[in-house]
Structure formats: C-alpha cells, structure tokens
Symmetry: C2
Subunit: 203 residues, 2 copies
DNA sequence: TTGCAACTGGGTCAATTGTCCCAGTCACGG
DNA sequence: CCGTGACTGGGACAATTGACCCAGTTGCAA
C-alpha cells in the first residue's frame, strides 16, 4: 500500500465505506469489507480511526456536507425567463431530484440507512438532525430564488416551506425505492410542487 | 417455560421480536435478544424457526397484515355530515395518522427499518412491495369513501391517488422522526391534504 | 397408567467481527 | 547517507452470534 497522510487515508476509507454501504448496506460495512474496498490492511484502518463507529460518524458528516442542491439557481432563472410559473419551477426541481435519484438509487438508500442508524442512539441523533437541516438549507436557497424570479412571496417563513418540501422529497424517495414506479413518482412530484407553490402569493 | 403449540410459539417470538426491533433496532434484534424478550431458551427459537431470517420475514408479514387504516369510515361519515370538505377530511386523516405516529414512534421506525432490510436483498424485495401495496390498499378504501361522502370524484384511479398519499405520509414520518417538530408535521399534513384533494372534482 | 412424540434446557461449535499488537519497512530531514 | 518516526502487513484475540445437538421432561392419547 502506498503511503499517504492520515487525512488522505481517512478520506480514502470514508469513500470506500460509502461505496460499501451503498452497494451492500450499512450492516455489511464491516471494517474488513471497508479496508478491502479501499485496498488497505486492517491495521491502516485503526491507525486512521479509533473505531468503526468513528468512521461511520465521519461518513455521515462527509456525505451531508457534500450534498448539493438539485436545482442550480441559473437554471431556475432561465426557466423563469420563459414565463414559467412558480409551480412549474418547483415541479421541474422535483423532477430533477427524481432524475438524480434514478441515476444513483443506492446513494439515496445509503443516506436513508445512515439516517436510521443515527436515529438509533441519542448521541448520534444530532447527526440526523444536521443532515435534515442541511437539506432544508439547500432548499431554502432554491425556494427563495424561485419566488424572487417569479415575482411571488412566500406566505410562510421560507425554511418552513423548505421543510415541507424535504418531507415530500423523502416520501417520493422511499416509495420509489420500493416500487420503482416512475409514473407514480412523477405524480408525487407534481402534487408536491402544486401544494408548495400554493404557499406563495403574487407580489 | 410453559408449553405451547408451534403456532403460538412462533407468534410469541414474532411479538417479542417486534418489541426488540422497536426498542433497539433491527441490528440489535439477535436471536438471543429475542428469546430473552420472549422468556424462552435458544433451542425453542430454532424449534419454531429455521433461522433468524425466517423470523424476520414472518415479522414483516405479520406487521403488514396487522396495519389498520388510520381513519375509520364511520368517522369520515360523521365529519362529512357536518359539511366538511374533501380537503378537510383528508387533513383530519393525516393528522390522525400523525397522532398515531406520536403515540408510538418506535413502531413506525421499526416499520421503516424492516422496509430497508427487505430492500437490501432481491428475494426479500417483494416483502417491501407487499408492505407498500398494503398501505395503498388501506388508503384506497378511505379515499373512495371520502370522495363518496363529499360528493366528489377522483380524476385519477383511486390507487394512484392513494400512492401519492402514501409517499406524503412516509415523508411526514421520517422528517418528524428526525426533528420531532410537531408544527412542521402539521404543515406537511395540511399541504398533503390540500394537494391530494385537488385530484378530485365535484360531481 | 403408560408410551411416546412434542418440547425444553443447557451446552457447544464455527464463523464473523472489532480491536489490538508487533516486527518490520519506508520516506525524509539533517 | 543515515537515523528515526511514521506507517504497514500479518497475525492474534476475545466477544458476539447463528445454528445445532442431545439428554432429559412433560402433556396427552390410548
């Protein structure tokens, strides 16, 4: 194994862990499976991390920090120029998220498993809260831009609107992961966009 | 340990397993933890079940079969008599589900974990599909009754409407399990009811 | 009452898994 | 070029866990 700094090694192990969790599930992400995926020896693992739990905790932090908004603001702007309504923008955003989900279902499944893992112990619960707070933050930005571009105003604080949209996206995710029904997911996206767009008034 | 028939024993073990999974999570539901919860010896476990997996599979079947609709039809009728709109009925239904969630969050968390477990292997995936099909079935009944009582007609096949509502309920569940924000959950319930009620027309 | 099959308790086993250790080896600053 | 400390490979270990086994025991039918 080539030499690398402690930071690089931690990062490499974290990436390997994410791949294993995505592919085989959190329960199968043993220290041995992770080092095998990373092409290292067990000793390297415990040189970089105190314990498996420490790695999983770091993994959650990493994937959460890496979450990107599904809708880029300039894309929103382009659509708005063409006279799209707020509802149109939201639906396009939902469909874009769905596209992302279809491209890498295992990743979203892994995120869900990590959330449930975090929910299971009081000291890790904050990780789950941070994860969802991050989701809300990303959507707050997009929702504020969308309202701005379509000349509308949110009747509620934007973060409350975002919180609703996070719930809808999550529901879309789980149900689709179960039945893989694309048309049904599209209907969920449309209904969610519709409901949320009604939380704004024209300015 | 008192004597009991194989069927009773299987049932007792299944109940014990559900309690362990709810309280400590699926990962902690080892054969030993389950028999301890049931007050049996390990031998009894393997007398009643071939393997732990067989019990978990049965557990999924049992909890799914036991799912009851959150809204009783006669309750719907009473509300409709008082002039409630379809949207009102749906929102009341969502809030009632939420009440149920608040009363026993661990049970819903267990259901979610069982779904994810089923999703992780091809031969168990059908269990997850059956689980969600059951959710849809329960809602189909309620939605059909609600439309009937309010003199409206679903523009889409009822099961498609139900499928959307299942997604919304699931989203409400996960996000609330994470942040325990009652007000936010109520907003999700209202938005979901609103969106779904727009899928019907007056007759 | 008696025979027996259903059932149970307690122990055992192999496999898995998290963690650790130690003898080496390699990169790099002096 | 060399010493040293960072790093690695391979092995070891205890704990956990799913599965199993067997010698008993007990309820019940005849």
């Amino acid at each position: 194994m080539t030499r690398m700094s402690a930071a690089e090694r931690r990062a490499a192990l974290t990436e390997a862990a994410l791949r294993v969790v995505s592919r085989e599930g959190l329960a199968q992400a043993t220290t041995r499976a992770i080092v095998a995926e990373a092409g290292m020896s067990l000793a390297s693992f415990h040189y970089a991390f105190e314990s498996r739990d420490e790695l999983i905790d770091e993994l959650i932090g990493v994937v959460v920090a890496r979450e990107r908004k599904a809708i880029a603001v300039d894309e929103l702007a382009a659509a708005a120029e063409q006279g799209a309504s707020l509802g149109d923008l939201l639906e396009a955003g939902m469909l874009r998220y769905f596209e992302h989900l279809r491209e890498d279902p295992e990743h979203e499944q892994a995120m869900l498993e990590l959330t449930q893992y975090a929910l299971r112990s009081p000291e890790r619960h904050p990780l789950a809260i941070a994860q969802y707070a991050r989701y809300v933050d990303l959507l707050v930005e997009a929702l504020a831009a969308a309202a701005e571009l379509t000349g509308t105003t949110w009747r509620l604080p934007v973060d409350q609107v975002a919180r609703v949209l996070v719930a809808f996206s999550d529901g879309l995710t789980i149900t689709w992961l179960v039945d893989r029904d694309d048309a049904a997911a599209a209907r969920v996206a449309a209904a969610a966009a519709d409901a949320v767009s009604r939380m704004a008034d024209p300015r």
